[in-house]
Assembly symmetry: C2
Homo-oligomer: 213 residues x 2
Amino acid sequence: MALDKEETGERVLAIAEALLNAGGMDNLKARTIAEQAGISVGSVYNLFSDLDGVHRAVNMRLLDRLGAAGAAAMADLSQRGITDVRQRLLALAGAYVRFVEAHPGSWPALLAFNRRRPTLTEPDAYEARLDQLFEIIASVLAGGDFDLDDDSRRIAARTLWSSVHGIVTSGYAARSVRRQADEIDEQIELLVAVFIRGLERGGTFAHAGTRAS
Amino acid sequence: MALDKEETGERVLAIAEALLNAGGMDNLKARTIAEQAGISVGSVYNLFSDLDGVHRAVNMRLLDRLGAAGAAAMADLSQRGITDVRQRLLALAGAYVRFVEAHPGSWPALLAFNRRRPTLTEPDAYEARLDQLFEIIASVLAGGDFDLDDDSRRIAARTLWSSVHGIVTSGYAARSVRRQADEIDEQIELLVAVFIRGLERGGTFAHAGTRAS
DNA sequence: GCTATTTTTTGAACGCTGTTCACAAAACCC
DNA sequence: GGGTTTTGTGAACAGCGTTCAAAAAATAGC
């Protein structure tokens, strides 16, 4: 064979990602991958345990790319001497929006992948890759003048990320394409503004709220 | 035949929902439905256009139930004379958390369903059912003393919903089961508190933020 | 260089899937 | 009861993920 084993593996992943991006989850077919990669179906199963394994590997690449995009956005702001918390949070959210737009099929496929089986997945490696994102957000929050202890800051970072994630991938609510993009921007700006204002005011939060049932 | 056509349809939907709830998306099989409903495979396709149609119908039922749960939570608070915005928002979020917990397989399946194809779905009827949820949230916000015009309140309601949704269905980040539930509660309380504090302060938001990069 | 041995690649084959459709059964009409 | 329409049926088809005996290639030993 002309190509290294690892090299063919990466070619398979590139093909798989393109397939996912173009046609979503059920466009990822073993025979299509084999055909486009110039190998046989069996060889695909030689490189990966099964199609889920291929999809998982693609997802890892996506998460790495997302983390890199976030880090790059922060590095860019640092280089331009921008330390304002609001601008940094908006830049992070903007990076995520652009990432999702750049992966219109493969990112929804990643999200759908984790929701396929009802509690059987073991996202060990997923978490590690998401933790770096949380740490970026937490470090931005640490730059503000909110007096948050480490744990509160960690919670706040996760809350912010989940909220932005929820807004961006709300999925529903798409009257028109342009209106959708505008509304996402509006919601993100509201969220970030409200978060900063809310955190600025009172110091620590006393999570003693009795939730009404 | 002993049963009404509509009645068999609903039985099929109940079976389909149970299958989805037990095994996720790829547990919804035409032959299983037919067997459990005591009809033939062809009859399933007589009642619904295809399996996607079955899943869509199940999803409608779920959205109706979610809307009813939200409305019921608000009615309960009204009956108890509770008008506090914070408590109402927490009650709504709590209703959503309980709803998700009560539908561990079928709700993820609904979310995965919308992410299967990359921009081809037409969630017309979905929107209508979600709009009632947004209106509930908006009406709660209207009860607070934030001076928001209708449009800002609409945006804020959607933002709140998307954020809670993102937090609850963040999926990843599940160190342990109990720790996960606690963390969701913490995040929701932080979100609601921060939102209320943030909205209380300044009046209208001037979405003139220049996003970096 | 040649054979023996190991490793890798192959694609036909298997079981399962969604979906169809000619046919049968039931229901309806008068 | 006979003709017509509607409804139900399940064998059949194409496509899927996955496997695995066999073929091909690579490696080792000499």
